[in-house]
């Protein structure tokens, strides 16, 4: 199958990769660029586990063709914060017990980051709406909402 060269800025570093016209951003991130922190839960836009920031906006990577991300910036969970420099959301998810199996966590934190970027002080209902495309089967959502609402203000990025 014919492939096309493309470039994306993944978590701050420009990467070149050859993709087919049919490949999704999710497939390319996980299988060709090694971004295993992006999870695949349904591959058709129902669960939100593969959410990434595409030029700052949260999208489902499984519903985005890889070529749509050509020349753009993609941020995954690992681009939001690391062990050396954890993001306040990561600290808050850990502190509030918002992580159980952890499979929805990458998409949840990415979606929460996009929310806080446009609304630094969201109420619980705004948080519920923002994460309504991210399914979680373990927590019942309460501790996730607690974690997003109570990101410590001095930590706000």
């Amino acid at each position: 199958m014919r492939t096309y060269p493309m470039r994306i800025k993944l978590n701050g570093e420009w990467q070149s990769v050859d993709v087919t016209a049919r490949e999704t951003l999710l497939e390319v991130l996980r299988e060709k660029l090694g971004a295993k922190d992006v999870k695949s839960g349904c591959a058709k836009g129902d669960c939100g586990a593969c959410a990434v920031l595409l030029d700052g906006k949260a999208v489902n990577a499984c519903l985005t063709l890889a070529l749509q991300a050509d020349g753009k910036e993609v941020v995954t969970l690992k681009g939001i914060g690391t062990e050396v420099n954890p993001h306040p959301l990561q600290k808050s998810f850990v502190a509030h017990g918002a992580i159980q199996c952890g499979f929805c966590t990458p998409g949840m934190i990415v979606t929460a980051k996009a929310l806080l970027d446009r609304n630094p002080r969201p109420g619980r209902e705004a948080i519920r709406r923002a994460i309504s495309g991210n399914l979680c089967r373990c927590t019942g959502y309460k501790k996730i909402i607690d974690a997003i609402q109570n990101v410590s203000p001095q930590d706000d990025s």
Partner: protein
């Protein structure tokens, strides 16, 4: 011999780590995206496996032609039933103790006949996922479709279509007999009778079934897989015709399990393909495969008749339970046994008659799902209680309080409850927490509230003689190592063991490393099912840690010139309790032990209390080790113009015995409640003549954040469980009474009872309009 004497409070009660809210030991890795789930793992030269699945729910296979697939470049293996060394195995529900009469035939790949739509017919392994998919398309299977049977009531009839080959569609029957129900009904002033129905439900864990297998340098077939049971290595070995020690299963961190990763998923397929190709192979189910082809929660039809005197005392209960086992037996007999024992709920009833059957059909097979037969009957018996209350002009709380079981009372099976029974307090507290009723927000809205209680077992059936093992060792610097075969499905199974070892040996959590779930390298700890791991492996870890502690305290006693029972161990040091100036670092004591040849590690085995088989004719005997008691309360708002239900409040009140990690306990209660709410209101895998009509998460819907209120948890700690430090299990119990509580609240709002889950807007509208 049982080790139950270990149980109970070991210390004066001032725990440093037990019962505290704290992040789990693995939370940071998950927050940084470092955890390697099954599909995140890759090996060089890895192939991709794929399953060809049956297009019919019932058909004869006339021929399979794999030549086109085999000729495709990049395809390295194509396998059908004839290539599987032992394609038919008998699954036995016993880990260490053989039990007769509960065996079900399990077929790796369909042979001559397919029994459900999506049954595995052939396997391929190819260099890429796309090639594997292409190869699947090139396999030609000639089917002769058969009529099939899709309704368990039909399937029970002697003249019905036969799902299997030569055996009855009725897999098994149980009964419980206590007193004389006809006498009981004669003494009743009110008798309520109704038939209740509950649907197929999918686990919908976010992580689909997945694994990677390879043959290692010693010729051992090694499978790294998301599973609740690494001990399936034995079953896989039998399929391959290998000895048990030639198959190794490594359990990856799971993205949820809920019982759905209890049966074998991809393990056998992967082992066959890796064995044949001698290359690593990965297989990950699509979401559609996960929903349509793997085990579901059992649908039940439950006919209940309950009688009470006019002052609300229960006199008699008669229940007839029929469950749809789907196309293969799997765990259906066991799920049914749980339902049979739980059929009377947490109530003291003098006359009881329960009859139960599970029946094969050509639907997707059904098996374990959080609650394991308890949620189905809870909806039925709690609906009966509400109907009785309404007829007798009693409140739902009043009628329950008149009938709750108490300590020293017996279940209908004769089992005497010998530990604290948290009724009526869980019900009173849950109801009180609802506070003042909410007001409807518009004239189209009606509000209502309801409660439901349950008792749910934790720990496996007592005639299975359950055991678990755990290893605790202290390193030379005083840090701790726990090795235990526990599988972690995301509920914090491994982290609780770290907490227990840290408490007993006086180190902070960050000093503990935990290695889990490797059938070759970690002591086998049994299944992560039946809400048994904290109870079983928690006790094993406690026992092992206590042995190490004893050695440390003996040596420290010599060093501090004190008796061992005058010492305490905390914060990495050992001190004389009454004279804290006399203290020594634990690391120094460790070195002293090492020079003296005193062991610093111990592997302990915990044996659960066990009994012989119950009497299946009367249902009399002990079935479960212990129970967890609790109550849900709910308040809902119903839009009577659309049938839409909004859940305004959800309260969960449970006696957990003793919290090990407060955050984890709250997490279980909150998550279980919301999963139960989904069961009550929206979750329904719809099958029509064996075809799954809801194969994705767009059709099989589960609660999202906007459907879900903040669950309020009320945690009671009686200290009277049989787990470590007096803990009880909470994983499964936390779900059981949530759906009935929500259903009860909906019925209270609209004034009509709906006897079938889920309470979709359509069903609510029909009830409102009296259709």
């Amino acid at each position: 011999m049982s080790d139950i004497k270990l149980v109970g409070r070991l210390f004066s009660g001032d725990y440093k780590i037990i019962g505290k809210p704290m992040p789990r030991h693995d939370a940071w890795d998950k927050a940084f995206g470092k955890t390697q789930y099954a599909d995140d793992f890759t090996l060089p030269g890895m192939l991709y496996g794929k399953v060809l699945r049956s297009r019919y729910p019932a058909a004869h296979i006339l021929s399979i032609d794999t030549r086109d697939a085999e000729q495709l470049a990049g395809v390295e293996a194509v396998m059908t039933a004839k290539d599987v060394p032992n394609n038919e195995t008998v699954t036995r529900f016993g880990q260490t103790h053989e039990v007769g009469g509960f065996e079900g035939m399990y077929r790796v790949l369909a042979d001559k006949k397919v029994r459900f739509m999506g049954e595995g017919v052939a396997l391929v392994a190819a260099k890429t996922r796309e090639l594997a998919e292409e190869a699947i398309k090139r396999i030609r299977v000639e089917y002769e479709p058969l009529p099939g049977v899709f309704d368990p009531m039909e399937a029970m009839k002697p003249e019905s279509f036969q799902v299997g080959e030569g055996e009855s569609n009725v897999v098994c029957r149980y009964q419980v007999r206590k007193g004389d129900v006809e006498k009981g009904f004669a003494k009743s002033d009110v008798v309520i009778e109704n038939t209740y129905r509950v649907p197929f439900v999918d686990h919908a864990y976010l992580e689909p079934e997945s694994g990677v297998a390879w043959v290692d340098e010693n010729g051992v077939v090694t499978i790294r897989v998301g599973t609740q049971i690494i001990e399936h290595f034995r079953g896989v070995a039998e399929v391959l015709g290998l000895s048990h020690n030639k198959v190794r299963v490594i359990g990856a961190m799971m993205g949820g399990g809920f019982g759905g990763k209890e049966d074998i998923t991809v393990e056998t397929y992967l082992a066959l393909l890796a064995w044949k190709t001698k290359k690593p192979v990965k297989m990950t189910y699509t979401r559609e495969e996960s929903i349509a082809c793997h085990g579901k929660r059992h649908p039940y039809v439950m006919t209940y008749r309950t009688g009470a005197t006019k002052d609300g005392k229960l006199k008699a209960l008669e229940a007839d339970l029929i469950s749809d086992a789907g196309a293969y037996v799997y765990l259906s007999p066991w799920v049914l046994l749980y339902s049979t024992v739980d059929a009377t709920g947490p109530y003291d009833i003098p006359h009881v008659k329960v009859d139960a059957a599970t029946v094969l059909t050509n639907n997707t097979f059904t098996s374990a799902f959080r609650g394991f037969g308890a949620p189905q009957v809870c909806f039925a018996y709690e609906s009966q209680m509400d109907e009785l209350a309404a007829r007798l002009n009693l409140s739902p709380l009043e009628i329950r309080k008149k009938n709750y079981l108490k300590k020293d009372k017996a279940l209908a099976t004769g089992r005497v409850l010998d530990h604290h029974v948290a009724f009526p307090e869980t019900a009173e507290k849950a109801m009180a927490a609802l506070g003042e009723p909410s007001k409807p927000r518009s004239s189209a809205e009606k509000t209502g509230r309801g409660i439901a209680s349950s008792m749910t077992s934790y720990g496996r059936l007592v005639f299975l003689h359950d055991t678990s093992r755990s290893f605790v060792g202290m390193e030379m610097d005083g840090s701790l190592m726990v090795r235990c075969g526990v599988q972690d499905l995301g509920a914090g199974q491994a982290s609780s063991l770290a907490q227990i070892a840290a408490e007993v040996l006086g180190v902070p959590m960050e000093d503990v490393s935990v290695y889990i779930a490797d059938s070759a390298l970690t002591p086998l700890a049994g299944t992560t099912t039946a809400t048994r791991q904290l109870y079983m492996s928690g006790n094993a870890t406690l026992k092992a840690a206590m042995e190490v502690r004893k050695n440390l305290l003996d040596k420290a006693g010599e060093m501090l010139e004190a008796k061992p029972d005058e010492l305490e161990i905390a914060d990495r040091k050992i001190s004389v309790t009454d004279d804290p100036t006399r203290t020594v670092s634990t690391a120094r004591v460790v070195k002293a032990c090492a020079s003296a040849g005193i062991p610093l590690h111990h592997m302990a085995q915990f044996n659960a209390p066990s009994r012989e088989l119950l009497d299946f004719k009367t249902g009399q005997g002990q079935v479960f080790p212990d129970f967890t008691f609790g109550t849900h309360a709910a308040e809902v708002s119903v839009d009577v113009e659309t049938g839409q239900v909004s859940v305004l409040r959800l309260i969960s009140c449970y006696d957990v015995g003793q919290s090990i990690n407060r955050l984890s306990v709250e997490g279980q209660l909150e998550g279980g409640t919301v999963q139960g709410m989904g069961y009550g209101l929206m979750e329904h895998v719809i099958l029509e003549k064996g075809v799954t009509l809801t194969p994705s998460l767009a059709e099989f819907v589960i609660p999202t954040a906007v459907d879900t209120p903040d669950v309020e948890t009320l945690i009671l700690e009686s200290g009277d469980g049989i787990g470590p430090f007096g803990a009880k299990g909470i994983g499964e119990p936390s779900l059981v009474s949530a759906a009935p509580a929500v259903a009860s609240a909906v019925c209270d709002a609209i004034g009509t009872r709906i006897c079938e889950l889920p309470l979709t807007p359509e069903r609510v509208m029909k009830a409102v309009k009296g259709i």
